[in-house]
Amino acid sequence: MLELYGQELSSRLLLGTALYPSPAIMAEAIKASGAEIVTVSLRRETSGGKAGGQFWSLVQSLDVRVLPNTAGCHSVSEAVTTARMAREVFGTDWIKLEVIGNHDTLQPDVFGLVEAARILASEGFEVFPYTTDDLVVAERLLDAGCRVLMPWCAPIGSARGPQNADALRSLRGHFPGIPLIVDAGIGRPSHAAAVMELGYDAVLLNTAVAKAGDPVAMAAAFGKAVEAGREAYCAGLLEPRDMAVPSTPVIGMAAFS
């Protein structure tokens, strides 16, 4: 059972709510994925607008936990204020903390991230930091009060899959008791299975499902891949070998010559 900030969850897939062809397809995809946590954001409301309320009603009808994000924030103060406003609206201490450092790569500003995480943790937030796969940054985030880490495996929306499996493996090895969630860069179910096989606790993705030809079917496929990867990790994987090793017994071979 996955436990995030004291909350027990049976699904190890977290799904975003953006980029779907329609709200109805989003809702169906979330159900098909089995996800129990979905990410949401806050944006400026238009005068007389009801869009935010309609979206929020739909999400509330899905019986899932929400993880609000600070997507698009480029400074500590922006991210901290957005987090405080998200707590007010969504009624949760959970926050997916993003402090973006680069426009092209959407790479986290890890310095600002640690600073913002410390402020928010001191205010009782339960911070899910979107970070790189850097080990020392991960240590700083834990020092700042984070009890979950969410390293990227490739840039957001890139669909490139794990670019540095060694770094992900290193994080897993160093923080055996900390829930590790790969956030960003997953493009296909095999990528999700691959990081779960490394012992990661969960996967957070959005674009790969929302922009699939059939988002509902892809959501189901990701749900299965995450489960398969987890089961494989728990079952104990065979390590690669340099030489061939026969699987059929060699003793008892007939002699024909």
């Binding site: 953006a18 954001s41 806050l42 400026r44 009801k50 406003m85 609206v89 969504f90």
Partner: protein
């Protein structure tokens, strides 16, 4: 009084944040508000006085990844 609401300039009569929401037709229990970068909880909007040049943000739930 001139205010900046969600990045746009507005000339308004409202003296409090609660009155501003009514004047500009922002409705709904799902809104989050901030005055000059500080969060104003829903329950404090009617006590939140506005002054010339204030910057107000009015946010609502949106899809996100």
């Amino acid at each position: 009084m001139k205010l900046t609401v969600n990045g746009q300039s507005h000339e308004v009569a409202a003296g409090t944040l609660a009155a501003l929401l009514v004047e500009l037709d922002f409705q709904g229990g799902w809104l989050a508000t901030a005055l000059n970068g500080d969060v104003v909880p829903a329950g404090e909007r009617d006590r939140c006085s506005l002054a010339e040049g204030d910057r107000i943000e009015i946010l609502s739930p949106m899809k996100g990844g």
